[in-house]
Symmetry: C3
């Protein structure tokens, strides 16, 4: 691995991705071989917003490597949230632990934490921004159930405008040849243009699941939140079009793989659960093996690389109200700049 | 063991009960021999209502077997309670773990969980319905302190109408020969008639602890909740009759054993705590060894049997408002039917 | 060790202190040698008020010794706080565990817990009264960074009237020869006279950090809570005098050591964090090693001594409204009496 922390999947090379996926497969095949690999090591899970399943997945991963866990699951039941800033908490807790997982409602918080931490940091979700272990889980699931990460026709259904996991999946799968994406959503909730441009992904659009499910190798379902629609009536009128049920499954290929990051609300009918093409529960389980691989690599390799953050110029500061800098300004503006691209906030990645 | 899950003590054979009790005794005698028995294994404790001591007892049991724990202790501090249904949670969490303990305010929830779980399920209390590890703890305690499970005169004092642990204890002890039960309660809070019929237990009634304590081998105390009485005045007038104090202990046999499932409110005076016949604190400790035995047997034997649940007939559905089916109807009605008995809800066991 | 429990640092001999500090150093030098020392053992952390970092420090300490943890972190998310008294909780939980850590808002609660516990008890803070593992951490830090515990000029800045850690540090450091204390605070927040008398400490007073920082070997910073001041205006006017910043650091000796029990509010400017003389983050990390040493000694040595508590005389009872006896009177008044001193409550140590 070339960097110490997993903040953004893009910080890692494609070789690193493969290394994680191969190790995850190896652990999955023979978990007992790894059951004492991290004996005596401690993972801290700092969840500034509750996400019980994600946290349990990390905790179980650490335990299955022989390690142990400290942390908190909810700022409101912890004394840390009141009065103590992110920097001091990370400095202190990273002194107790060997690796640290952070989930935080502010965008860029995980990058900020990595600046202060004495040990590797894994981003388990920073607001609506990134959630790289979910994307690695998706890749691992596709590799296991489809046998390949290329030449796939991938349907993406639901809220494609705000869906963090969908954006990451498109970014990730665009790096493998021959993948095509079918966007299944209302026009209001379709993928942002900049993502299409940025990734160069091959895109088709479709306004009903029924119309295109027959062409897909993979169907990635996500929640549509009612509050995204213009009105309650609009929601009631449209939601049926994007609900996957047994009837629509009859139109699909026999080797379709249905994924979902979970939790679902009602966008997948429970009758679909028993269909062998429904892999979302296995996907959740696979997430534990992927997290085992990531934790093991970061703790044992102790890579010392870091992403380069540039100093801000006079007067340059991030205007994104959801950025961690807004809540904890002492962190100080830093900047990312890629060849030819705009200067962006090093934390939330908004253009400056 | 002939079934995979411990939902209802009645699902297990008497041989299974003995197997658990013997193993618990063996672990109690030489705990270090078992201290790595479940190395690398994970217990999930899913507490949909808080019960800190019960949860700690399970967690300590798993740790003393060399295993580790994940879970939550309070739905309000967890993201699982909001939005996610029981089925999805159980499917996902059982994918992370080797055995699962559930406590839930709805009756029948543990049976429902066992339908969805990829690993064995232990019922740690489903509403006012069942709590089988408490009853096994009571049996283990009686075996240790009385040396036998038969030919005992057992006084049951407190709220016998609603007390889940009392009902289970009578059911369990009625399966051993020669046991007699003395019910010590107000007429309003006495044992339901169906339980007397069902168990065929030998019953006497007594309206004051003082009058019958001298005859007892075992006194099983329980809380009387003030709200069970007709009025505050009635409570104030009656409660003294059912409070165990040093004075009443002077009337008891020298080898009486006083049990209580704890926590107590004020039905046992603290002055009794130092009497060697007070075994309730030891009883709590014994609970940990019983839970070690149960966990160890279910994880290592992986029995694949299950209780037979019948499909519901047209129009048949459970009307119990406290049943898990009321809250999560997608689970679907199932039915239990015993020779000659009524058809009952397979979850909460109410007659249909 | 001559007593079983660590309630008050004064219960231990100076030899015991050295034993703890030497062991902590040994663990710090070679932690892996101790990584299975407490395999199969359980630490219970019972936090009746949240203190996330202190609890994580104890948990991490136990894990790094190969042991595991149970407990609760917040009475409001636990079922124990409602209805169950301290005695029953301690009796039961100590039956599950090998050592117990308690933090509680009432003064004297840890001493009370030690009366009921089946295993050793460590006081992790009982109201504003004692917090001995913090003081041992301070001693360990001074030994590591200054190389000695004597002949030090120690500045104490902030709220010296109510600051529990400051009082304990003065008591502790007064037992080593040649230490002098410089009190840096407003007159309203200076050290109580009885402490000066009791310890016989060599004291100087100074009303500005700037004026005396140049003379100090050690600067122990603490929070000043706004509500301690006469008015908001008074706070605003005075607080700058007691804030440590880079400018004041320029006046200090090159080998000054700045300590702080953390969390800080704004009494140390973040610019000081990168100064090598700022040792407060290392101090927090050292706390974990000190706690490892204490836990290891108490669990493995199982000392059976206890502090002598005298029975109360007729009519003698503690009037301190923050005493644990006020909340849980069944515990019963006990008394401490030292040669020539007044009779004091054995729990909160207030004069009777």
């Amino acid at each position: 691995m070339n960097v110490r922390d997993l903040i953004d999947l893009g910080d890692f090379t494609l070789d690193d991705w493969h290394k994680i996926l191969y190790l995850a497969e190896d652990i999955y095949q023979d978990p007992m071989r790894y059951s004492s690999a991290l004996h005596g090591k401690i993972l801290a899970t700092l969840f500034y917003e509750p996400s019980t399943r994600t946290q349990m997945s990390f905790q179980a991963a650490m335990m299955r490597l022989g390690g142990q866990n400290i942390g908190f699951k909810n700022p409101s039941s912890s004394s840390i949230s009141k009065g103590e800033n992110l920097k001091d908490t990370i400095r202190i807790v990273s002194g107790y632990s060997d690796i640290l997982v952070i989930r935080h409602p502010k965008e860029g918080s995980a990058r900020a934490a990595s600046l202060f931490s004495a040990c590797p940091v894994i981003n388990a979700g920073d607001g609506g921004h990134l959630h790289p272990t979910q994307t690695l889980t998706d890749l691992f699931t596709l590799r296991r159930v489809k046998g390949r990460l290329q030449n796939l026709r991938i349907g993406l259904c639901g809220d494609l405008k705000y869906g963090r996991t969908v954006h990451s999946l498109i970014r990730a799968m665009s790096r493998f040849p021959g993948n095509r994406f079918t966007l299944i959503s209302t026009p209001e909730l379709t993928l942002p243009d900049y993502l299409v441009k940025e990734t160069g992904a091959q895109i088709e659009r479709c306004d009903s699941l029924e119309a295109c499910i027959g062409d897909l190798d993979v169907l990635y379902m996500t929640r549509i939140q009612q509050e995204r629609f213009a009105s309650k009536e609009e929601y009631a009128r449209q939601k049926g079009v994007y609900i996957l049920d047994a009837e629509k499954m009859r139109l699909a290929k026999p080797d379709l793989a249905v994924l979902h990051p979970l939790p679902r609300i009602d966008e997948i009918d429970r009758a679909v659960d028993d269909d062998p093409r429904a892999v979302y529960f296995r996907q959740a389980e696979y997430g534990m093996y992927v997290r085992m691989a990531i934790i093991l690599l970061l703790v044992t390799e102790q890579p010392d690389g870091a992403v380069t953050l540039l100093p801000a110029r006079e007067g340059e500061h991030c205007a994104n109200p959801s950025c961690i800098l807004e809540a904890e300004p002492y962190i100080g503006q830093k900047v990312l700049e890629e060849d030819g691209g705009p200067r962006r906030c090093a934390f939330c990645e908004h253009a400056l």
